[in-house]
Amino acid sequence: MAVGEVMRMEIPAGGDLTVTTPELHVLAVDDSIVDRKVIERLLRISSCKVTTVESGTRALQYLGLDGGKGASNLKVNLIVTDYSMPGLTGYDLLKKIKESSAFREVPVVIMSSENILPRIEECLKEGAEEFLLKPVKLADVKRIKQLILKNEAEECKTLSHSNKRKLQEDCDTSSSSSSSHDDSSVKDTPSSKRMKSESENLSSLF
């Protein structure tokens, strides 16, 4: 579909419109090999793509935040990290991520086997999305996944509304009749990568 083309959505009678959500890519950081195996499985069974690393330093390397060159075109939707690790702790890693321009918007979840309130407060204050007590359960991962997807959907909606307004303005200034329907070509505006992938998923329904 070209930019500006109106995309008409044929909603089947009965109204059920299922949209497949794109796979989330999660970076999991833990120095325990047992815990890495478990968290990886928890995430995979929740339909996430997973990359595991064994230290905060390796995580920074992977993200390209260590001064070197990280993986190109890297898209990470969530970072899950253990708190107590030798060298860089989960808290140190959280700080470095929030200081970076490339990844500060990526939600970071901290895991710890110790229920220490000041530690939890410190992490949340630094911008952690959530603090999970180990051992991590499937219910925890499912809940976090829902939270991430909801946040991303809301970001899309905000962008969608601002685009709709812009489109409306453009239409009004032109002499042709306006096509400012609520479910018109808004979703096809290429200004956001995330929105584009969502529209691609929608168009695969037809």
């Binding site: 325990s32 090999i33 047992v34 195996k37 478990v38 499985r41 107590s84 180990k134 051992p135 499937l138």
Partner: protein, 154 residues
Amino acid sequence: MLGLGVDRLQADINRLLASLFHQGVLDEQFLQLQQLQDETSPNFVYDVINIYFDESEKLLRNLRLLLMDREFSDYKKIGLHLNQLVGSSSSIGARRVRNVCVALRSASELSNRPGCLRGLEVVEHEYHYLKNMMHELFQLEQQRLLAAGVRYPM
């Protein structure tokens, strides 16, 4: 007729697991691990437990070497090893091993060498008990798979 073998083995497996839960050797985290096993990852529990055994044995060996040394004083190192053991034991649902490691960690925080040596013996004992039970469980499950295989030839 062939089905009896499977049913009997399944009953043995259930009985063993019930006993281990009742004794507090395993806790609900072990059930969580079983939930993570399916057709796409059919050996998950077996794999994780074996990784746990490898890692734990290394740590236990190091702990024994450190504590047997009469000149020993690096309690911080003991603490770090124990943190690992506590964490991984809790991740697989090895409740009793985890608890005795926590007790040993407390002794190490008090720099109590005789207390640590006693504590280490308890940890080693609990660990080996768990390992034997897991081996028995895996053997039963293997036998059940074979028995089920006879019932449903491919």
